[in-house]
């Protein structure tokens, strides 16, 4: 899922200057699961903004609303025609789709979207995938060196790997140490004998925003133009 982090309240307050109607929008998908942008957190932010408005006499009319998934417009119908300020507790994707859905609204981020990760124990979330667009997990024992190595190395650990830890932080396991140990356990260390050549980063974010088309679900450009009577 997408992992986000709460934005400091003073930063959010600073974005609201000149607002009158404020809607704190929660999302029941990823940011709810990582405990920063679900219904509870949206209500909390709503109360905090309202409290600030009362203390500082800002006159904001604040309410909160939580939708199933802010990144799909079919769930955003309750926002139809909204013209005030939206504090998005959804990820950056949700925030942008909300802005597309409500072109006259001012959408501001209530969270910092960080990465694609998974929970580690309770309340801790760790990055797992960098969305680089060319998956090589079959070569690396299911552990991604692009996302989990501080240098995104593709051919083994750098000289800073010691006792299974990354040189950048003793709290971070060395991804390559994990890969080598996992392949050793599986008896597949020979996978690492061949060097991985320089990779093609085009499927990563180098070509601007990526567009993935599902051949079955998408009508295709020609069909779409015909249907839309262009």
């Amino acid at each position: 899922m997408i992992i986000a982090e709460k934005k400091p309240l003073p930063e959010v307050l600073g974005m609201l200057e000149g607002s009158s109607e404020v809607l704190v929008l929660g999302c029941r998908s990823c940011t709810a699961i990582c405990l920063v942008g679900g219904e509870r957190e949206a209500m909390e932010t709503c109360e905090a903004l309202a409290l600030h408005s009362e203390i500082k006499d800002k006159g904001w009319k604040v309410r909160s609303l939580t939708v199933e998934r802010a990144c799909e417009r079919e769930f955003l119908t309750p926002l139809n025609g909204f013209k005030g300020t939206v504090v998005s507790m959804a990820c950056g994707v949700g925030a942008q789709v909300v802005q597309e859905h409500c072109p006259d609204a001012r959408v501001v981020p209530g969270v910092n979207t960080s990465n694609m990760g998974a929970p580690e124990g309770t309340g801790t979330f760790v990055e797992r995938c960098a969305g680089c667009g060319d998956c090589i997990l079959h070569l690396t024992a299911g552990i991604c060196p692009i996302a989990r190595c501080a240098k995104s190395l593709l051919n083994g650990p750098c000289g800073g790997s010691q006792n299974g830890r990354c040189e950048v932080s003793p709290d971070t396991p060395c991804a390559w140490d994990q890969i080598v140990k996992a392949l050793e356990r599986q008896g597949r260390l020979d996978l690492l004998d061949a060097n991985i050549p320089p990779r093609d980063w085009r499927p990563s974010r180098n070509g601007g925003p990526r567009r993935i088309v599902n051949a079955e679900a998408s009508p295709g450009d020609a069909q779409r133009r015909w249907r839309e009577g262009e």
């Binding site: 109360e47 409290l51 009362e54 203390i55």
Partner: protein
């Protein structure tokens, strides 16, 4: 006005005993099943409803009926105190109190400490 979210097992009996002794007219007790169940938005709303301080009153850490409810509540209280400050109130307006049901004195002392905090800054300043 000090709003006290009190755990039904420890906080409520302790608070009621303390209230019987008198002198706590500024205290409002809200019963909750566990200190860990107090929502952050609820606490913030209390301030909008006129609270000058909020106490979250739960079991002793090693004795929580819900194992870690009291612990979560303590961490939450720290974050809430920060949020309330960020929203514009002076510091120290949210505090966690750990006690057992037979410790009304501890409850009274916590209220007095919160009064002192409120007193220095005054009202909802």
């Amino acid at each position: 006005m000090i709003v006290c979210y009190c755990c039904s097992r420890s906080g409520v009996p302790a608070a009621l005993s303390a209230l019987e002794e008198g002198g706590l007219d500024d205290v409002i007790v809200r019963e909750v099943p566990c200190a860990g169940s107090v929502e952050r938005w609820e606490v913030l709303r209390s301030f909008r409803q006129g609270a000058e301080g909020v106490l979250i009153v739960g079991c002793l850490l090693e004795n929580c009926a819900h194992h870690y409810g009291s612990e979560v509540a303590a961490r939450r209280a720290v974050l809430l105190e920060r949020t309330v400050q960020d929203a514009g109130l002076s510091k120290g307006r949210v505090a966690m109190v750990h006690l057992a049901e037979h410790q009304p004195l501890r409850f009274r002392r916590a209220v007095e400490e919160m009064r002192a905090v409120i007193g220095t800054a005054g009202g909802q300043a």
